[in-house]
Symmetry: C2
Subunit: 187 residues, 2 copies
DNA sequence: ATAAAAAAGAACAATATGTTCGTTATCAAA
DNA sequence: TTTGATAACGAACATATTGTTCTTTTTTAT
């Protein structure tokens, strides 16, 4: 691929991320993005159809490899390796988030965090579902599998939201411990 | 209060709700709202500072009494009246939602449901917190109370989101049953 | 070196925003 | 029922954003 394309694409992503750290998504204009990225108006629209399109692309880039990395983890460990195992996939995810690659946490902490977390939850749903079909789980009370999957990924996302609002006063390991305590009883 | 004020306020709310059923919040313009409500531009800005302000006012109106009603319920029953009791506050909430007063479910089903559910969750947090301070709960594994409160209200909100996406294939009573099954083990 | 592709830059119509004015209609209270 | 207050109207306004179209310049891959 042409280096110029990659360069502007990166410039736009960076500018967008910078702006997201300053103000909410809805208040960011295309004008600001291209000013910050220092690219022409035409160039922006050659890459992305709309601002929403840009957001989607950014999410795919951000959550893409964090999820695939987690998927590798489940292939070796299972959803939770063991009831008393030291780490679960969720701990892995939290650590990955905190490592701050591409400044994901910065983005998730911004005013538009919910926006990102919806994308994140979609990915988590796939991840969790994957686990359920592979493992033949006992279903203790005729709870629909859909419900359980949604409960797990939903709770995780809400936990991350809480974690960030709370200025990350807890370590990924602590959170993992709490999360397993509230999730494992129902598996 | 002047009847005229009440009348335009209602007209704007109704117009806004109608539009929300058709398109996402971000794509609705003030222009459309005043056209639909059939009020002057000046009038709109006399009532609400911005579109965001309107959304906030609508949420307060919608969730205000649904929560106070639930609060009454907790005063008599407790968070869950009893492990085997037929109804919990959450069932009450779900039924209330489904009764379709002010067409809440219609709004929650729209493209901008997350927007509303964030407001809803804030109210739920207060509700849940209220319960925790009144009842002296056993805390089985040193999980922070904040975490538990957030887990409960967060899970509930995510469940409603799932319920709506799923076209409400389940009754409030079924959902309540599932929800208690995943929440009660940790209380 | 050259043809293809990408970015810049300027200009465009269309639309949305929030404000200001003077005018008209409606209300509540005497 | 009159009257003073106030809410709504409507038109106009400057300002800003959007998405598109054009031509010109720069950069790339081969």
């Amino acid at each position: 691929m042409d280096r110029r394309q990659q360069k502007t694409r990166t410039a736009i992503f960076t500018a967008f991320s910078t702006l997201l750290a300053q103000k909410s998504y809805s208040k960011i204009t295309v004008q600001e993005i291209i000013d910050t990225a220092n690219v022409g108006r035409t160039t922006f629209y050659a890459h992305f159809e709309t601002k929403d399109d840009l957001l989607k692309a950014l999410c795919e880039e951000l959550f893409g490899h964090i999820i695939t990395s987690a998927l590798d983890c489940t292939h070796t460990h299972g959803l939770y390796s063991d009831r008393n195992a030291p780490e679960s996939v969720f701990c892995h995810l939290l650590q990955h988030l905190q490592e701050n690659e591409n400044n994901i946490l910065g983005l998730l902490s911004c005013e538009s965090s919910e926006l990102f977390l919806r994308y994140f939850k979609d990915s988590l749903n796939d991840l969790t579902q994957n686990q359920f079909v592979n493992q033949n789980r006992r279903n203790n009370q005729n709870i629909p599998q859909d419900f359980l999957i949604n409960h797990i990924s939903g709770s995780f996302v809400e936990m991350v939201l809480w974690w960030l609002k709370d200025k990350k006063k807890h370590t990924p390991e602590e959170l993992d411990c709490y999360f397993r305590a509230v999730i494992e009883p129902i598996l």
